[in-house]
């Protein structure tokens, strides 16, 4: 017999006894979210840690399997706790911290690292007191490389993007070819080609110059694309309003389109600049004594990797504020998008 819609409604009414009698729409708690199960699970994990987990040191592949299973069990427990909306928030926090402790323990216990060497090899202060001066001469080069290539790529990128928006077919073909070429070639390859291959054509330049040239070529291709997308994001009506007042194309660009485009472009542009600072390290392959190269030299000379560790910290100190600068700039540019107060 074919069952109609009405029949189904009465069916669902028959199921009512499954719900809590006073709260008809209360969700029934599944078995795995009850406290007894969660506590049992936790006990199981702790037992596993004491009985099954292998000794510290370098585990065999079977033991790695056991370790990974342990990690997954812990993750499963944390997931059950945090995904239940009725559990108190602190329990989720405790679970997450517990999971990170477990992860840290796994890395500490089984990576095979000799942790007692950590202080001497990574945080060797007596060694660094000699090395700072040398490192800082590298920092100069890194920053100069960044500032010059950033300035060049911004100017070139802006000019190319504006030129492209005028829709001249011949010029645009060249610009697109330029963008495609330098966006797809790996920067490492570009630096090596500029430094080692171009001299065969008679174009000689030092490592410093080769770095600036390759970074600018590559970065300006990306910057052009960002500016182009910013310019295209401005509504057509803006151009019409500006032209109808009597502004020419360049005035329209300068007074109406670019101020609006900049706001859109700031986040990707900051990302590009962060990338550019990181990319300066690549120029070390052609022997430019920038930050990374200096650190490597000191490491070889002192046979201690502390300078390398110091360099990562220096990069961090430079880059973290830059990421926040983007947020500040965006906020300032956004003052005119504020909603009605």
């Amino acid at each position: 017999m074919r069952r109609g819609a009405l029949q189904q409604v009465t069916d669902s009414k028959e199921k009512k006894p499954f719900h809590h009698p006073t709260k008809p729409y209360h969700r029934r708690k599944p078995w795995f979210q009850r406290y007894d199960f969660i506590l049992g699970f936790l006990a199981l994990i702790i037992l596993y840690a004491f009985l099954i987990l292998p000794e510290k040191g370098q585990p065999s592949s079977f033991e790695w399997g056991l370790i990974i299973l342990f990690g997954l069990l812990t993750l499963g427990w944390v997931a059950i706790v945090t995904l239940d909306p009725e559990k108190p928030a602190w329990l989720g926090g405790v679970g997450a911290i517990g999971f990170m402790v477990v992860l840290g323990w796994i890395i500490y216990g089984y990576s095979g690292a000799q942790w007692k060497l950590l202080g001497r090899m990574f945080f060797n202060r007596t060694l660094m007191s000699d090395a700072w001066g040398v490192l800082l001469t590298g920092l100069d080069k890194t920053l100069a490389l960044f500032v010059i290539s950033a300035a060049i790529s911004m100017v070139v990128g802006l000019i190319l993007a504006v030129t492209r928006s005028f829709n001249n077919i011949v010029l645009n073909t060249f610009i697109v070819a330029y963008i495609d070429f330098f966006r797809s070639i790996p920067l490492l390859a570009l630096v090596i080609v500029v430094y080692y291959a171009l001299p065969f054509l008679g174009i000689q330049m030092g490592a410093y110059m080769a770095g600036i040239v390759s970074l600018s070529l590559s970065s300006s291709a990306f910057v052009t694309e960002y500016f182009r997308s910013g310019i295209e994001s401005v509504h057509r009506g803006q151009v019409e309003a500006s032209r109808s007042l009597g502004f020419n194309l360049l005035q329209t660009m300068r007074l109406v389109i670019l101020p609006q485009a900049f706001r859109v472009v700031i986040p990707p542009l900051t990302g590009q600049m962060v990338g550019l600072i990181k990319a300066t390290a690549i120029v070390s392959v052609v022997g430019l004594q920038e930050l990374l190269k200096r650190a490597q030299e000191i490491m070889e000379w002192k046979t201690n990797p502390t300078p390398l560790f110091a360099v990562t910290i220096i990069y961090l100190i430079i880059l973290l504020p830059l990421a926040h600068l983007s947020g500040i700039l965006e906020k300032r540019m956004k003052k005119w998008v504020k909603k009605k107060a």
Binding site: A241, G246, K338
Partner: protein, 240 residues
């Protein structure tokens, strides 16, 4: 003031304007009506060459602006335009919107430009909103700022492209009031609009467009009481 001779416009194969010729005298207010797709907006945009006419001639104040050697930017300074979607510059305050043209095109010093911009904002009833950004203004307020922005260039002609059709009903009146004041002050205006109340009151002449041609023209009194063309009749029936 405006003279158009046999204006044609094609979009690829589409013959949007099929030979339009009109003359508009100084101080005259001409309203254009017609079904959507009849070519009203395209025609209006040909008058300041936001749309390039395919053939025909447009004279503004005796100058042929369709001539290839004419400086179109100089011509556009004399022709204000108000758009359906306002198109205020969102990164500038109301005041900055109004004085952008005078400062950069008329080369007025900032002080003078600010003073006359404030006068214009006062005229459209928005002197208290001078520092607000377009996002903070209602549609009607934005459109009034847009009118002030166009007036700041001291144009001889004003073009209105459906200035009230993007507005909520309660804001239409405030914009039309400003336009009526302009009409009374003797501004030459070409208005694409379906606000019949405004047209009846302010327009000297109505042009009815259909399929890229002017099928009928006359004073509001003539057209509203005894329209001749069948398409005019059915169009008026639909919107009145």
């Amino acid at each position: 003031m405006i003279k158009v001779v046999d204006l044609h416009k094609y979009f690829r194969d589409l013959h949007v304007l099929q030979g339009i010729s009109i003359e508009v005298g100084r101080g005259e207010v001409v309203a254009m009506i017609g079904a959507s797709g009849s070519g009203k907006s395209t025609f209006l945009r040909c008058l300041n060459r936001l749309e390039e006419p395919s053939s025909g001639e447009v004279y503004i104040d005796g100058t042929e602006i369709t001539h290839p050697r004419v400086d179109i930017n100089a011509v556009r300074k004399e022709i204000g335009m108000v758009f359906q979607s306002f198109n205020l510059f969102p990164h500038l305050s109301a005041l900055e919107n109004v004085k952008l043209g005078p400062i950069h095109l008329l080369k007025l010093p900032n002080k003078e430009a600010t003073a006359s911009a404030m006068d214009l904002l006062k005229k459209v009833g928005l002197s208290d909103k001078a520092m607000s950004y377009p996002d903070q203004l209602s549609g009607g307020q934005q459109q009034r700022v847009a009118i002030a922005r166009a007036l700041a260039m001291e144009p001889k002609i004003m073009l209105f492209d459906e200035p009230t059709s993007a507005l909520d009903p309660e804001m239409i009146g405030e914009v039309l009031d400003v336009m009526k004041v302009m009409a009374n002050e003797g501004m030459t205006m070409v208005v694409v609009s379906h606000e019949m109340g405004f047209i009846r009151e302010a327009a000297d002449r109505i042009l009815v467009l259909a399929d890229g041609k002017i099928i009928e023209e006359g004073t509001p009194a003539q057209l509203f009481t005894k329209p001749v063309h069948d398409k005019t009749k059915s169009f008026l029936n639909k919107i009145l």
